[in-house]
């Protein structure tokens, strides 16, 4: 075995390393390549491709990215959170109600408070799941209703607001429309890097993967299922709150009648495209971020192609199914070979 290894040529070995790397990170690489291809293709479709278009896509994609990240954290830990869309709506209308007309310093405190409250409330959802032993999908179906109802109570009519500085943070301009993509990119990058580092490098983050891939083995190696699941839901809740802020910053007002269920479904589609296994234990934010952006990106691309929004929805559905079928086929071939 070792002698065979040493006798192979260096190029052969580096090729094998490359192949192994490709097998491990192939999906992530593929999603990023797909995103780049789509951007290049889009830039040839429209007459002028510049800062305005880039900013629009990044800004619009921000809430998709955060919601998909929230879903990914929970799914990797072996759960699924149907409530994320409802929590986005709840946090965005709470922000709109409380932040309206306040100076930026106060808004910052309110924002931190909302993030913590969202983490707490979704952590309680996680606790209910572990305490009741009811499947995640059922409890979070209930929490979706509760969040949506609470949002309507807090802001019965479309309204409220935030401040210019707050909107600039997420959109690069005080009006939500502009040509400066950098603030939104920074607002995406910093939390994503922190959460990625937490998931991949810390004990509590890695225990998400342990719990998601095999809860018995995780228990036997000293991971507390209860604490891990509650942590996953709490972190997911905090990410939902940031998603809610982003959608508040873009629209400028809160709207409690937004269908949270549809947003949840987008987040599930995004993480699946991002290579997260719905059975838990597999996936990373590195691939989820571009996947969420790709899903949002479909809309401007298809409208640039002259496809009307209804047909765009059909195309999007068909594409998701095709991607899933291809992924299933690859997985099946790999399993048959091994």
């Amino acid at each position: 075995m070792t002698s065979a290894d040493t006798t192979t040529e260096p190029t052969g070995r580096s090729f094998a390393t490359l192949k192994r790397w490709g097998q491990r990170h192939g999906w992530t690489l593929g999603v990023w390549i797909l995103l780049v291809v789509l951007v290049v293709w889009y830039s040839t479709l429209i007459p002028k491709f510049g800062g305005f278009q880039v900013t629009n896509i990044i800004n619009g994609g921000t809430s998709w990215i955060f919601l998909a990240a929230a879903q990914a954290v929970v799914v990797i830990a072996g759960g699924i959170d149907l409530g994320v869309g409802g929590l986005l709506v709840l946090t965005s209308v709470t922000g709109a109600r409380l932040m309206d007309g306040q100076p930026f310093g106060v808004i910052l405190i309110i924002a931190i408070g909302i993030v913590l409250a969202a983490a707490l409330i979704n952590g309680i959802v996680g606790w209910v799941i572990t305490a009741s032993k009811v499947p995640d999908i059922v409890i979070t179906l209930g929490s979706l209703y509760i969040y949506q109802g609470l949002a309507l109570m807090i802001l019965p009519k479309v309204g409220g607001g935030s401040s210019d500085t707050f909107r600039w943070l997420f959109t690069g301009s005080a009006t939500g429309i502009g040509t400066n993509p950098w603030p939104a990119m920074v607002m995406i990058a910093i939390p994503m890097l922190i959460v990625s580092w937490w998931m991949g490098r810390t004990r509590s983050g890695l225990s998400l993967y342990a719990l998601g891939s095999d809860s018995n083995a995780a228990f036997l190696s000293g991971v507390s299922a209860k604490r891990t699941k509650i942590t996953a839901y709490a972190v997911g809740g905090a990410l939902c709150a940031v998603a809610g802020f982003s959608s508040l910053a873009i629209s400028g007002v809160g709207n409690a009648t937004t269908e949270g269920g549809n947003l949840t479904l987008n987040s599930v589609a995004a993480i699946v495209l991002g290579g997260v296994a719905l059975t838990g234990g597999i996936g990373s934010l590195v691939a989820v971020v571009p996947a969420a952006l790709i899903l949002f990106f479909f809309n401007p691309i298809l409208s640039a192609l002259g496809v009307n929004p209804n047909q765009a929805q059909v195309v999007q559905g068909v594409l998701i199914v095709i991607v899933m079928m291809v992924a299933g086929l690859i997985e099946w071939r790999r399993r048959r070979r091994s």
């Binding site: 479904l265 209804n310 899933m324």
Partner: protein
């Protein structure tokens, strides 16, 4: 080693010896959690009667049943799929699509309208089944994508080929809205009873029903004992589509006209009814009897919330709390068995 079997054998006896008096009730409840559901249903009917004394009448109960009918029929589809470990998030959109086609074909006569409407449901369901059963796409994703595809198609068609065809045939309206026996029995409830009978028989008395349970309980064991998973799944999703179509026709008949949001409000309640009724979302466990009780509970809840005249906001919060509370209770009872 030889002592071990004796120890484990004596364990259940010890439990019985421990509390001979208390066992009977707790045991009975955990062996038949549906008794608890019936108790919840009765309590909710009585509470609603206290809130609004007029509710305890034929008309009051009829209204609750009318609320429960579409939920119950859609939840039949969810029950069948949950038994296999699946779910159908497209069932509400399938219902809407079927209602659209039926409304479009209504000038051609009731029979053609109904048959074509049902065929739409079967076709969409079969497509779901091929995706899940043959190509192994995750059921959540497959049915979600199907829902998006149908919504896109019918939003486009609503203003083109289906433009102007919004009104249902009178016969379908009769089925969805009218009553007989002096206004006491809605035709929709009769349709539900028929559907329920067939679903109960299929699940309990046929080999196909046992295949559904086997597949959800242990897919590998089911395959090794000769079940062809993909065939069972394709049929199950087609059945779910058919049930969605039936519910869609009744809803379209009740409203009298169709629009794109016709059935969307019933998607999550259909899942909730099956879950409250004790069907496991992981497959292999559940009965349609439980789902029927779940649908009736949600129907009575709807009546209660209507009488309380709470806003939509409070209704949604209560709805969510009920789903969480009942499923928690049910799991606790099942675990103590």
């Amino acid at each position: 080693m030889t002592e071990d079997p004796n120890v484990t054998q004596s364990d259940p006896m010890a439990v019985v010896d421990d509390a001979p008096g208390k066992v009977s009730l707790a045991r009975q409840l955990s062996a038949r959690p549906q008794i608890v559901l019936i108790a919840v249903l009765v309590v909710m009917i009585l509470v609603t009667g206290v809130i609004e004394p007029n509710y305890l009448s034929v008309a009051g109960v009829r209204n609750s049943v009318l609320f429960a009918v579409p939920i119950g029929i859609l939840a039949a589809g969810q029950t069948i799929l949950m038994l296999t470990g699946g779910i159908d998030l497209s069932i509400a959109m399938i219902a809407t699509a079927s209602a659209y086609v039926a409304a479009n074909q209504s000038p051609e006569g009731a029979a053609i309208a109904i048959v074509l409407g049902l065929l739409v449901g079967i076709a969409a369901g079969t497509a779901n089944g091929i995706g899940v059963g043959v190509f192994r796409v995750n059921p959540l994703i497959m049915t979600l994508a199907m829902s998006g595809i149908l919504l896109g198609l019918f939003t486009g068609w609503a203003t083109t080929i289906f433009a102007g065809s919004k009104r249902m045939h009178d016969f379908i309206i009769t089925l969805g809205r009218d009553t007989f026996f002096g206004g006491s029995v809605p035709w929709a409830a009769v349709v539900w009873a028929g559907v329920a009978l067939v679903v109960l028989l299929v699940l309990r008395r046929t080999g196909y029903g046992r295949n559904l349970y086997a597949l959800g309980d242990n897919a590998i064991a089911a395959r090794l004992s000769g079940t062809r998973a993909w065939q069972v799944l394709v049929v199950a999703y087609a059945l779910s589509g058919l049930l969605g179509a039936i519910a869609g026709l009744l809803l379209g008949g009740r409203v009298g006209a169709v629009d794109l949001q016709l059935a969307s409000l019933f998607l999550l309640p259909s899942v909730a009814a099956a879950v409250i009724g004790g069907t496991s979302i992981f497959g292999g466990v559940g009965t349609y009897t439980g789902t029927i009780l779940g649908a009736l509970i949600l129907g009575v809840l709807q009546s209660m919330l209507t009488f309380l005249n709470t806003g939509q906001a409070v209704q949604q919060v209560i709805y969510g709390l009920i789903v969480v509370g009942l499923s928690w209770m049910y799991t606790k009872l099942a675990a103590s068995q």
